[in-house]
C-alpha cells in the first residue's frame, strides 16, 4: 500500500461536500468509507478529523444532519447537502482547480533546457 496521507482540514471539507453531492444523504461512516475508497485507500480518516469537520460544515450551514434508519435497519445520523453547501462546493472546486493548474504550471518540466 502507498504511504498514507494526512488530510488537511480545508481539503477534507471539499471531499465531504463532493461525496454528499454525488451520493446524496449519507452517515459519517459512509462518508469516511467513500472518501477512503475514492482515494484508493491512500487516505485514512479517523473520527477525530471527520466529525469535527462535519460539525463545522453544519455550523456553517453547508450540511444538515438528522437521525434516520439506515438500509440495514440501524439508526444513524445522516448528513445532507444544503443549497449553501452546493454553492460552497462549486466555489471551492473552482478555486481548487485554479490553484492546481497554477501549481502544475510551476512544477512542469523545463522544456527550454537543452
Amino acid at each position: 500500500m502507498a504511504d498514507k496521507l494526512d488530510v488537511k482540514q480545508g481539503t477534507l471539507a471539499l471531499m465531504v461536500l463532493r461525496t454528499l453531492d454525488v451520493l446524496g444523504p449519507l452517515h459519517g461512516y459512509g462518508i469516511a468509507r467513500r472518501i477512503e475508497e475514492t482515494s484508493k485507500n491512500r487516505l485514512t480518516l479517523n473520527y477525530g478529523t471527520l466529525y469535527p469537520a462535519l460539525l463545522k460544515l453544519e455550523q456553517e450551514g453547508c450540511v444538515t444532519a438528522e437521525w434516520r434508519q439506515s438500509d440495514n435497519n440501524r439508526r444513524a445520523k445522516y448528513y445532507a447537502l444544503t443549497a449553501t453547501g452546493r454553492k460552497q462546493l462549486a466555489r471551492e472546486a473552482r478555486e481548487w482547480h485554479r490553484t492546481a493548474d497554477l501549481i502544475a504550471v510551476f512544477l512542469a518540466p523545463r522544456r527550454e533546457a537543452t
Binding site: 461512516y29 479517523n46 477525530g48 466529525y51 469535527p52 460539525l55 463545522k56 455550523q59 440501524r74 444513524a76
Partner: protein, 900 residues
C-alpha cells in the same frame, strides 16, 4: 456570512454541551456499529471485527474531545473554568486574599487618585484651540516680588512689532471691581483684555459673543464676558443674562456673552472686560510709561514658527529695548524675559508637589507590588504539589501559566475596583489641595483615561506576578513526577527573589519616611516661626470703600475719600464700643498680609551703590490705633497721633527691616525718606520727603515661610483710603466678635464688599495649610509603606522558618538551644534589614535634594531626620523579625523529625 453563522453556532454550542455530548456519543457508537457490521460481512469474527473497527477509528475519547472543541469556544470555556477555579482557590485562603486585595487596593487607589490630579493639572491638553501653541511671556527681576513683574503697554507694543514669530499677542490685566447685586455687593476678579484676546487664546463663547477689536479704545461702551464658572456660580447658568446690564463700581456694563470653561492664569477670574471700564488703563501714563507694568502677555505662535524661534526673537527684541530705554531697566535688578508654553505656566506651581506625591504613591505601589509578589511566590511554593499533580494530568506549562495569570488577574482586578472606590474618596481631598496650586483643579475627575490607568496598573501587575512565579520547563515534569517529589524544591532562586523584594521594600519605605520626616520637620519649624505680632487675638475685616475707579477720577476722588474716611471712623468707634474689645485700628493692609503695592524708596543723603538693585518698600497706611490693635510692637519713637492730619507735616513709621536697610548703626528717628521712581508719577502718592517718627517690629507678612521685606507706614489720615480694613483686638476669643462687627460694617457700608473676616491665627494657618496637607499626605504614604514593608519582612521570614522546620529540628536535636535558633532567624532578617536601610538612606539623601524647594528651615540632607528614620525603620523591622524568630524557637524537634 458563512463565518458569522459558524461563530454564532459555536457561541450557542457553549451552552448546549450536555445534550450535544449525548448526540455525539450515539453518532460515534453508530459509526462503530456500522464498521463492525461491515467487518463481519467481510467474514471476520465479531470480536475481531469490533477490535478492527475501533483501531481504524482512532479512539472514541479523542474524537469526542476534538468535536467538542469544534462545537463551542474552547478557550472561552476553559477561561471561565479558570476563573471559577481561581475564585474557589482564593476563597479557600481568605487571609491571603484579603491581605493581597487590601494592599493592592491601597496602592492602586493612591496612584489612581493622584494620577487623576497629575493628568488634569499637568498632562491633559488645554481646552484652548491649538493650546500647545500658546506662549506666556514673563518678565522678572532680582528683588522680592520680582519673579513676575508683567509688562508695560509700551513693552507689549515693541514685542508686537518686533517678534514676527508671535502670531498674535493678547493683553490681560488683572483688576478687581465691585459688582452690585440686588441685596449684596461682591468684589470680583476680572481681567481687562484687548479685543483680540479670545481670538489669540483660541476660546469660543458658549453663549452670546466675546470681545473683538472693535471693543478696544475709548468711546466704546464697557462690555463684560462671564467665565463659565462665575456664570454658573453667580447667575445659576441663566442664559437670559446675556444682553442685560449689571453695575460694576457704579458703571452700567453690558454682559455680552459667556466663554467656554478654561483655566485662567495666574488665578481664577470671574469675568473679562474691555479696557474702557478702567480709565487708568487707557490713560496716557499707562500707554506711555515703559515701567508701568500691569499687563500679562499671552502669545500664539505664528503658523510654522517654533518655540525656539520665538525665544530667539523675543530675546533679540528685548535686548534692543533694554539698550534703547536704559532708565526702565535698572541694571542691578537683572531684568529678563522668559518664553514659556502656556500649559507649563499653568502647572508651574503644582509641578513639584504633584510629582512628589505621584512618586510617593508610585513607591507605595512598588512596595505593595513587592509584597503581593512575595505572598504569591510563597503561595506558589505551597502550591507546587498541586501544580505537579496538574502537570501529571496533562496540563502544559502554558496552561499552568494561564491558570496563574487568571488567578492574579482576578486578584488585581478586585484590588483595582476597590482602589477606584478609594480614589473616588481621595479625589475630593486632592482637589482642594490642587486648588491652591493650579487654576486647572476644577478639571480633575476620574474619567475614562484615569480608569484606564487603574486597569492598566492591575493588568501589568497581574502579568508581572504571573511571570515572576517560576514554572518548570516543559519536559522536566516527568522527572519530578518519577522522583515522587511533592514539591519542585528549586526554591533557592525564589528565596533570593523574595529577599531582594524585602530589601527593596525597606529601602523604599526609608525614602518615603525620610520625605515625610523632612516635611513634618518643616511644619514644626514653621510653627516655631514667630509672627512678630504680640498677640493672635486679633480679628481682621477687609472692607474696601474706595474703589480703584473712584481713585482714578480726579473730580470725584476728594469727596469719595472724605466719605470713606468718615465711614471707617464710624465703624471703628461702634466696634470699639462692643463688649470685650480692647482696641480697633484702621489700615490699608491687614497684619500678616502684603499690601501688593511696593514702590522704590530713597533716604535723604544716601545714594544706592552702583549696580545695586533699587531699594523698595511695601506701602501701607495706618491709623494711630492700628499698631496697638494689631499687636505690632513699637520698637522706637512714637505711634501716629491724631495730629498727623492732612496738611500737617508728612511723617512715617518704618519696620525694622527697612531701618536696617538704610540706617544700620544710626538712629533712624528724625531722618527723612521718600517714595521715588518713574511709576510714582502715575499714582496719587506724593514723592515728598517724610520724617521717620517711629520704628516697628518686622512681622511675617505674606506667610510664615516668606522672608519679610521692608515696610513703610503712612498716617491713614494723610493719604487716600486705599485698600482698607479694620483690625480688632479683644481680651479673649476674638472670633466671637466676628458677626457683631460684620453687622456694624454692613450697616455703615451697605454697598461695599466685606472680605476675609479672619483672625490673625487663621491668616497664619492659611499660609501653612498647603504645606501641612503635603506633609500629612506624604506621612500617610510613609506609614502605609512601613506597615506593608513590616508585613513583607515578617511574611518572608515566617515562610523561611516554615520551609526550614526540618533543618531547625535537626539543629535543635543536635544541641542548639532555642535562643540560638532565634538568633539565627533574627540574623537572617537583620541582614536584609541592614541592606535595605543602607540603600534607603542613600536614596533618601538623593530624594532630599529633589524636594529642596518644599522645605523650610530644614536642610535637605538633615542628619537628624535621616538617623531618626533609619532607627525607626530598624526598630519596626526587628519587631517584624521577632515574631517568626519566636516561632522558630518554639519548634519541637521531636515532632518535626517524626513528620519528615
Amino acid at each position: 456570512m458563512r463565518h458569522v453563522r459558524a461563530a454564532l453556532a459555536r457561541l450557542a454550542g457553549v451552552f448546549t454541551g450536555p445534550r450535544a455530548d449525548e448526540d455525539l456519543r450515539e453518532e460515534l457508537q453508530s459509526h462503530l456499529d456500522l464498521e463492525t457490521a461491515e467487518n463481519i460481512r467481510r467474514g471476520m469474527h465479531p470480536d475481531e471485527a469490533r477490535r478492527q473497527a475501533m483501531l481504524a477509528s482512532g479512539g472514541l475519547t479523542l474524537a469526542a474531545e476534538a468535536v467538542r472543541d469544534q462545537r463551542g469556544l474552547p478557550w472561552l470555556e476553559s477561561i471561565a473554568a479558570d476563573i471559577r477555579y481561581a475564585l474557589r482557590a482564593l476563597r479557600q485562603s481568605p487571609a491571603f486574599t484579603a491581605v493581597v486585595v487590601i494592599t493592592l487596593a491601597l496602592g492602586i487607589g493612591a496612584n489612581t487618585a493622584i494620577f487623576s490630579v497629575v493628568r488634569a493639572v499637568l498632562l491633559k491638553p488645554l481646552p484652548h484651540r491649538d493650546g500647545d501653541r500658546l506662549l506666556y511671556l514673563r518678565q522678572s527681576m532680582d528683588r522680592p516680588g520680582g519673579a513676575n513683574v508683567r509688562f508695560s503697554v509700551a513693552e507689549v507694543r515693541d514685542f508686537r512689532e518686533g517678534a514676527r514669530s508671535l502670531g498674535g499677542i493678547a493683553e490681560y490685566s488683572p483688576w478687581t471691581l465691585t459688582l452690585q447685586g440686588d441685596d449684596d455687593a461682591v468684589r470680583i476678579d476680572v481681567g481687562l483684555v484687548t479685543g483680540n484676546f479670545f481670538e489669540v487664546m483660541g476660546l469660543s463663547p458658549v453663549l452670546g459673543r466675546l470681545t473683538r477689536p472693535s471693543d478696544d479704545g475709548t468711546g466704546v461702551p464697557p462690555v463684560m464676558v462671564l467665565t463659565h464658572a462665575f456664570w454658573m456660580r453667580r447667575f445659576g447658568g441663566d442664559s437670559s443674562i446675556v444682553g442685560k446690564q449689571v453695575r460694576l463700581d457704579g458703571n452700567a456694563v453690558t454682559v455680552i456673552g459667556v466663554v467656554q470653561a478654561a483655566p485662567w492664569f495666574p488665578n481664577g477670574v470671574d469675568a473679562l472686560l474691555n479696557m474702557v471700564i478702567s480709565p487708568h488703563h487707557l490713560s496716557a501714563f499707562m500707554v506711555q510709561s515703559r515701567s508701568h507694568r500691569m499687563t500679562d502677555m499671552i502669545a500664539r505662535l505664528a503658523p510654522g514658527a517654533s518655540v525656539e524661534q520665538a525665544r530667539t526673537e523675543v530675546a533679540a527684541v528685548y535686548a534692543r529695548m533694554q539698550s534703547a530705554f536704559r532708565e526702565a531697566y535698572d541694571p542691578g535688578s537683572h531684568y529678563r524675559v522668559a518664553v514659556i508654553p502656556f500649559k507649563e505656566v499653568l502647572g508651574e506651581r503644582a509641578r513639584l508637589t504633584l510629582w512628589l506625591l505621584m512618586s510617593a504613591a508610585a513607591f507605595v505601589m512598588l512596595i505593595s507590588a513587592a509584597n503581593v509578589g512575595n505572598l504569591t511566590l510563597m503561595r506558589g511554593v505551597r502550591r507546587e504539589h498541586e501544580l505537579v499533580v496538574r502537570a501529571a494530568l496533562g496540563a502544559g506549562a502554558a496552561r499552568l501559566r494561564r491558570l496563574l495569570l487568571v488567578e492574579n488577574l482576578v486578584l488585581t482586578l478586585i484590588g483595582a475596583i476597590l482602589g477606584v472606590i478609594i480614589a473616588m474618596g481621595g479625589v475630593g481631598l486632592l482637589t482642594s489641595l490642587a486648588e491652591r496650586y493650579s487654576p486647572r483643579a476644577n478639571e480633575i475627575r476620574l474619567d475614562a483615561m484615569v480608569l484606564g490607568f487603574a486597569l492598566a496598573l492591575a493588568v501589568a501587575l497581574a502579568l508581572l506576578l504571573s511571570f515572576a512565579a517560576s514554572l518548570p520547563k516543559e519536559g522536566t515534569f516527568a522527572s519530578w513526577i518519577a522522583a515522587g517529589m511533592r514539591r519542585m524544591s528549586g526554591s533557592l532562586r525564589k528565596q533570593r527573589l523574595q529577599r531582594a523584594l524585602v530589601v527593596a521594600q525597606i529601602a523604599v519605605s526609608v525614602v518615603l519616611l525620610a520625605g515625610a520626616g523632612l516635611l513634618t520637620r518643616t511644619m514644626i519649624r514653621l510653627s516655631d516661626v514667630t509672627t512678630g505680632l504680640k498677640t493672635e487675638e486679633v480679628l481682621t475685616i477687609q472692607v474696601p470703600l474706595l474703589t480703584p475707579s473712584a481713585l482714578t477720577n480726579p473730580a470725584l476722588v476728594a469727596t469719595a475719600d472724605a466719605d470713606a474716611k468718615d465711614r471707617y471712623d464710624r465703624m471703628r468707634r461702634e466696634i470699639r464700643a462692643l463688649p470685650g474689645v480692647i482696641e480697633v485700628g484702621i489700615g490699608s493692609t491687614m497684619p500678616l498680609r502684603n499690601s501688593q503695592i511696593d514702590l522704590e524708596i530713597k533716604a535723604e543723603g544716601k545714594s544706592p551703590a552702583a549696580g545695586e538693585a533699587a531699594p523698595r518698600a511695601d506701602l501701607r497706611t495706618a491709623s494711630p490705633e492700628y499698631f496697638r490693635a494689631a499687636g505690632v510692637p513699637l520698637l522706637a519713637g512714637r505711634e501716629f497721633s491724631s495730629t498727623d492730619r492732612l496738611g500737617s507735616s508728612r511723617v512715617v513709621i518704618i519696620n525694622q527691616t527697612l531701618a536696617d536697610r538704610f540706617f544700620a548703626g544710626e538712629d533712624p528717628l528724625g531722618q527723612r525718606i521718600a517714595w521715588t521712581g518713574e511709576v510714582l508719577r502715575f499714582t496719587p502718592i506724593s514723592g515728598d520727603w517724610r520724617t521717620i517718627v517711629g520704628v516697628v517690629g518686622t512681622t511675617q507678612d505674606g506667610g510664615l515661610d516668606a522672608a519679610p521685606g521692608p515696610v513703610m507706614f503712612m498716617p491713614f489720615a494723610q493719604e487716600l483710603a486705599i485698600g482698607g480694613g479694620l483690625v480688632i483686638r479683644a481680651d479673649s476669643n476674638v472670633s466671637a466678635l466676628a458677626s457683631a462687627s460684620t453687622r456694624i460694617v454692613r450697616r455703615i457700608a451697605p454697598t461695599s464688599p466685606i472680605e476675609n473676616v479672619m483672625t490673625v491665627a487663621q491668616i497664619k494657618d492659611q499660609s501653612v495649610s498647603p504645606r501641612r496637607l503635603n506633609a500629612e499626605l506624604i506621612s500617610s504614604f510613609g506609614i502605609l509603606a512601613v506597615i506593608i514593608a513590616a508585613v513583607g519582612i515578617a511574611g518572608v521570614l515566617a515562610f523561611s522558618v516554615s520551609a526550614r522546620t526540618n533543618e531547625i529540628g535537626i539543629r535543635m536535636s543536635l544541641g542548639a538551644d532555642s535562643g540560638r535558633v532565634q538568633r539565627m532567624i533574627l540574623w537572617e532578617g537583620g541582614v536584609l534589614l541592614a541592606i535595605g536601610l543602607g540603600l534607603g538612606v542613600a536614596g533618601a539623601f538623593f530624594a532630599g535634594g529633589v524636594i529642596r524647594g518644599l522645605l523650610f528651615g530644614v536642610p535637605p540632607h538633615d542628619p537628624t531626620t535621616l538617623i531618626g528614620v533609619a532607627v525607626m525603620m530598624g526598630a519596626i523591622g526587628l519587631g517584624a523579625c521577632w515574631i517568626p524568630a519566636l516561632r522558630a524557637a518554639r519548634v519541637d524537634p521531636a515532632i518535626t523529625m517524626r513528620s519528615t
